[in-house]
């Protein structure tokens, strides 16, 4: 059964359309990522699901109810866990104090000691929040998100601003939570984060979902092209390459430095011909690599990393926060 169901969701700020006909479903126990550049509509979508922001159109159900209905919002909030982009923790309280306080807001919270253990802050339990490192604060933040034992956890860019070690630790924590069967919706603009954490990714750009699927098949990633790269010595011409390299929809490009790039859907056949040719001719294929399209390639293609759009996105961000 779906924990979240969104159909034709729309939200505008003045003349700016932030969310434009977005639809998706999230199943129980699933980790779902909304991946997209800044201002793509990720946070607006999440805020609508949380009941924090109203919508202009579309059907939304979260845990079976409409988050826009005021009379049931408080019940809904008792079932949700939220981790915001900001590190929102009181600096002068201790880790245990903050968790104990928030646990008290919920009808059936997790035991505070268990949360402290889970987020790996047992040694810092009585330390003031402001003495924690960025990564530790973020883990406390996640702890605050789960202390109410939520049926659904929202993570809005959970590792933005963390160093690589801090990100790694946060990922481990989130993977552990996912392993416990918590349903998670996260937003991110890091491809590797979506890939590491989510079972399903929706790529969102300019308020629309442009692709939706498992991270390793999204946007035809498992089929699509592979790229073969190598260098030819100056006395070997690219036109001398075996004909397999030029077949079907393979594309060959060569620059002045002798670097050759072949895009093909049939990398095994092309490679076979290529290496045979190289051995026969005694030509070195320096720096030979074969690379399958990454999630990043798919993402950049689908979101069209165009600076004008980025700027429009930044403006949308600005308007939204007013």
């Amino acid at each position: 059964m779906s924990v979240v169901s969104v159909r034709g969701l729309r939200k505008s700020y003045g003349s700016l359309t932030a969310v434009d006909d977005v639809s998706f479903e999230v199943q129980r126990g699933e980790v779902f990522a909304l991946l997209g550049p800044n201002g793509a509509g990720k946070t607006s979508t999440i805020e609508i699901l949380e009941g924090f922001r109203g919508r202009d159109g579309g059907e939304v159900r979260v845990l079976g109810i409409d988050p826009g209905v005021r009379s049931t919002q408080r019940w809904l909030r008792s079932q949700l866990g939220v981790v915001l982009q900001e590190l929102a923790v009181e600096p002068f309280l201790s880790v245990r104090q903050v968790l104990t306080r928030n646990a008290g807001y919920y009808p059936a919270p997790r035991p505070v000691e268990e949360v402290i253990e889970l987020i790996g802050l047992a040694e810092k339990a009585d330390a003031k929040v402001k003495t924690l490192s960025g990564g530790q604060q973020r883990r406390l933040d996640v702890g605050l998100g789960i202390v109410g034992a939520p049926a659904l956890l929202f993570l809005d860019e959970p590792t933005t601003g963390l160093d690589p070690a801090g990100r790694r630790m946060s990922w481990e924590l989130l993977q552990r939570l996912a392993g416990e069967g918590t349903t998670v919706i996260l937003t991110t603009h890091y491809m590797d984060e979506a890939e590491a954490l989510a079972q399903r990714v929706a790529i969102i750009a300019r308020g629309r979902i442009v692709a939706d699927g498992a991270p390793d098949t999204i946007g035809g990633r498992d089929r699509g092209a592979a790229t073969i790269r190598f260098r030819l010595p100056s006395d070997a011409g690219a036109e001398e390459l075996p004909e397999e390299c030029f077949e079907a929809d393979a594309q060959v490009r060569r620059d002045d430095g002798g670097a050759v790039e072949i895009q093909t859907d049939e990398e095994v056949r092309v490679l076979h011909a290529l290496t045979g040719w190289a051995q026969e001719r005694g030509v070195a294929l320096a720096g030979l690599t074969v690379r399958r399209n990454t999630l990043e390639d798919v993402y950049l293609r689908l979101t069209g990393g165009d600076p004008e759009r980025e700027r429009a996105g930044a403006e949308a961000e600005l308007v939204r926060s007013r």
Binding site: M1, V3, R28, E50, F52, L63, G64, I65, T72, R74, W75, L76, R77, S78, Q79, L80, V82, L84, Q85, E86, L87, A88, V89, E90, P91, F92, L93, Q97, R101, N102, G104, Y105, Y106, P107, K128, L144, G148, A151, S321, R322
Partner: protein, 268 residues
Amino acid sequence: MSAPAPAAAPRLAVRGELRLVARQLRYEQLSFWLNPVGAIFTVVFSVVFLVMLGASAGSSRVSYLGNVELVQYYVPAFVSYGVMAACFTTLCISLVVRRETGLLKRLRLSPLPTWGLLAAIVLSTAVIACIQVVLLLAVGRLGFGVHLPHDGLAFVLALLVGVASFTALGVAMSTLVPNQEAAGPVTSTVFFILLFLSGLWFPIKSGSTLAQISTWFPIRHFLKAVFAAFNAQGESPLSWHDLLIVAAWGTAGAVVALRRFQWAPRRG
């Protein structure tokens, strides 16, 4: 899925809600007192000001205020300062910081009801103001032998109106401050200029230009209302006129606060 949204059982709920507010109030107090800068700036400053100015006042008197001792002027002056510092400056700065760091949004997204959170914040502010007042009265009485308010009821009423109005103005002010960095400087500057204009540091003569300007702002009127409760000499200890003006400012503040209040960071 999980249990359906229940219709709350009303009678039991009220007690539960009050307990929730009391609990939040306790954490509001904890957050305040554990922040040394905030606690010192608010509570210690007013006492230090009173001691410094009180000590330098010696036995001088204010001829145009019924010839009271200057120090007898300073006690009500710093009682009103204490109330305003807690309700206006400290509340405003903490609201801006909490808004911009996402703390307000996070609380808004917790099952703690909005009214409960706001009630706890307002009550917490009032508690800080009351602690200030008691401390200042004690220092005034024991340190300078100043007499306590002549009219307790008028004093309490003035404090109530003051706490409510300056709390509303503090919330209103927080909606006008764009970011965390500006919160301290902007709020303190506004506050100290108004304090000067209102003759809090040195009593100003009525009829002077400064007195004219100061009548536009609520601080002078609050100060006069508190002063009247202390030093009823022939006049009424309850300065209705002044309290009404303070309350009018408070109402205006409440309107701005309700219209502009924001939970999410503005990042501006």
